[in-house]
Symmetry: C2
DNA sequence: TTGAAAGCGCTAACAA
DNA sequence: TTGTTAGCGCTTTCAA
């Protein structure tokens, strides 16, 4: 055989087999102009015969671009993130890019490791749903030209920014890409929670519990903020004993405790999908509005009223932002907030 | 700066900065022995200072192994596959491998394209949930040393094999890896369906409908086989008018049609999770057993009795098989069948 | 313990 | 239209 001793055939092997020069093979493989149909045919035949497939590593090494992006999410098996991931994949496909993805499992160390692994593989860009709050280690990568977009939660680049206060994007002059933050796509957490709690209040509830995720999670804080605003506007006093912050596994028992207390809540607002399900599973059957939509919410009895986010929209927006950067957009970092939607299904319309 | 004109610092830059030779940097980066702590310290400092990160493409080009595997599934957003994918990711992590994943969307063309893209990137191995039936194009890749495992459904390598008949694995002499098939991990589709239908029959049903996926899908055929066996064993005659094969979107109306006919079914066996949900959504409230478990099946009223597969187990098994091959296992291709589990929750125990 | 040189497979720049 | 050459950043081999 003309093929190299062992392993895969290379362009050189194909060239030898087709009786042309290496470069001609390269031209055919890359659809470059300037090859006679006849020669191209001979080359293609040789490629077919040898089972040649271009070695992307070599190509990448030479060209500097990998045509791949890295996606770091909390858990690929969580329906929210898998919908998100699917949307990212779709946009990437449209741009001829591959997606490397990994689950951080809410562990900032693992997140860091994943991100740096992706950078070692020289992804063109990153989409990150941050678990950690300090992403200073991204600095050299950003400086080296890797683009990054934070999604669902803001990421911190060292200088204290974006942890839920109202500081917005502004970062000084804004010339060039050397600003102190990355593009960020969030959903309107505070606004959504406000709408959900307000919905319960308008249905007559004056004691509304908030069962949310750990206070350290960005979205959780934002949603609590919306909850407080709704209470305030309705002239209801905030009662700390009606608020619980913790992992989904503890949500059920936390609520049970509240219900056993004196002056118990007549309605509950849950801070995310997993917590909503946990609360339902704990047997809670009072008025309920949950953040995040989930499959079958409409088939339960009563149907579960939710504040729906759009995971696919979030993913699509993040990916489009990233590819705009990769295409050369040098504008100031953007911070986009996607709206939420209240979907009444029964549980949120129950009277006190 | 000591750094190259533009772009990322390289080992050479680090070497210059640390006043050592390139190779010494390489030794430090790869934790190779034979470097004085003092020298190593100088190198590490330079690495830190320059923000150096090894270029994986160059490394791969030189070494030939990418430490990454490719995962091709139908849809990363489908809970079944995302659980599967998560398990694969976990095993890969344990072996220091990255996972490139992509959705085929049940399109054999897209599947082929994805697989070949992965091969171009020189993944060490592939885990494929096949949509297509002919994977002859994998031949050159397998010959070149890429390992592959089919999961959930068998894949065909050109010679007619594994399409649901009983031919098992055997492939001639079995010396070396040049056999005509790959390792395959399936779940016990026929057995699971048999158990589910049998469960309905034991609860008094004599007219049981089968609402399954398109007949062309491997699992669908297998499950129908189990359905028929259960009927036969119970002495019930097979009635084609009680069988429907089609996409989930049409499942509801197909069942409605059956229920309107003379001598309608008193119970339904659904062929996969999406179809179960579709049937529930169509308002069907009779006896029901569904293939595949799904979240909240226990919270519906009545709870939905299911034949549960173990997506994570499937993924873990496939990945472990793959890494065993990558570690050098040259044994004959295996075909593993994972058991299913019947979970009674109420809907499957309703009387006729 | 350290270093110099060769080359992995490809593309870019420049001939012919 | 086709071919030649250099080198991407790293590891491997061999030498000091």
């Amino acid at each position: 055989m003309t093929e190299s001793a062992r392993g895969r055939p290379t362009m050189k092997d194909v060239a030898t087999a087709a009786g042309v020069a290496l470069k001609t093979v390269s031209r055919v493989v890359n659809d470059e102009p300037g090859v006679t149909p006849a020669t191209a045919g001979r080359v293609s035949a040789a490629i077919e015969r040898l089972g040649y497939r271009r070695n992307e590593s070599a190509r990448v090494l030479r060209r500097g671009r990998t045509s791949s992006i890295g996606l770091v999410i909390e858990d690929v098996a969580d329906p929210f993130y898998s919908g998100f991931g699917r949307a990212v994949e779709e946009v990437a496909l449209g741009h001829g890019s591959l997606v490397l993805s990994g689950s951080s499992g809410e562990d900032p160390g693992r997140e860091r490791e994943l991100i740096l692994t992706f950078c070692s593989r020289r992804v063109d860009g990153l989409i990150i749903v941050p678990s950690g709050t300090d992403h200073g280690y991204l600095r050299p990568e950003l400086d080296a030209g890797i683009a990054a977009v934070f999604a669902d939660r803001p990421g911190g680049l060292g200088t204290d920014n974006g942890t839920g206060t109202g500081t917005e994007t502004g970062s000084g002059t804004g010339t060039g890409r050397d600003t102190d933050s990355c593009d960020t796509v969030l959903c309107d957490n505070a606004g959504g929670a406000y709408a959900g709690v307000n919905h319960l209040i308008r249905h007559g509830h004056r004691r509304v519990a908030f069962v949310g995720d750990r206070a350290s999670v960005f979205t959780s804080g934002e949603r609590l903020r919306g909850y407080r605003r709704a209470l305030e506007e309705a002239g209801l006093t905030f009662d700390g004993s009606l608020v619980s912050n913790g992992p989904a596994e503890e949500a059920g028992s936390a609520l049970t405790r509240m219900l056993r207390g004196g002056d118990p809540p007549t309605a509950v607002f849950t801070g995310n999908g997993r917590i909503t399900v946990a609360v339902l599973r704990a047997g809670h059957r009072q008025a309920l509005v949950g953040f995040d939509d989930f499959e079958l919410a409409d088939l339960l009895v009563p149907g579960v009223t939710v504040v729906a986010q759009d995971p696919a929209g979030l993913g699509r927006t993040a990916a489009e932002l990233l590819f705009r950067r990769l295409a050369g957009d040098r504008g100031a970092p953007e911070r986009i907030e996607l709206p939420t939607r209240l979907i009444p299904r029964g549980s949120g319309e129950l009277p006190p």
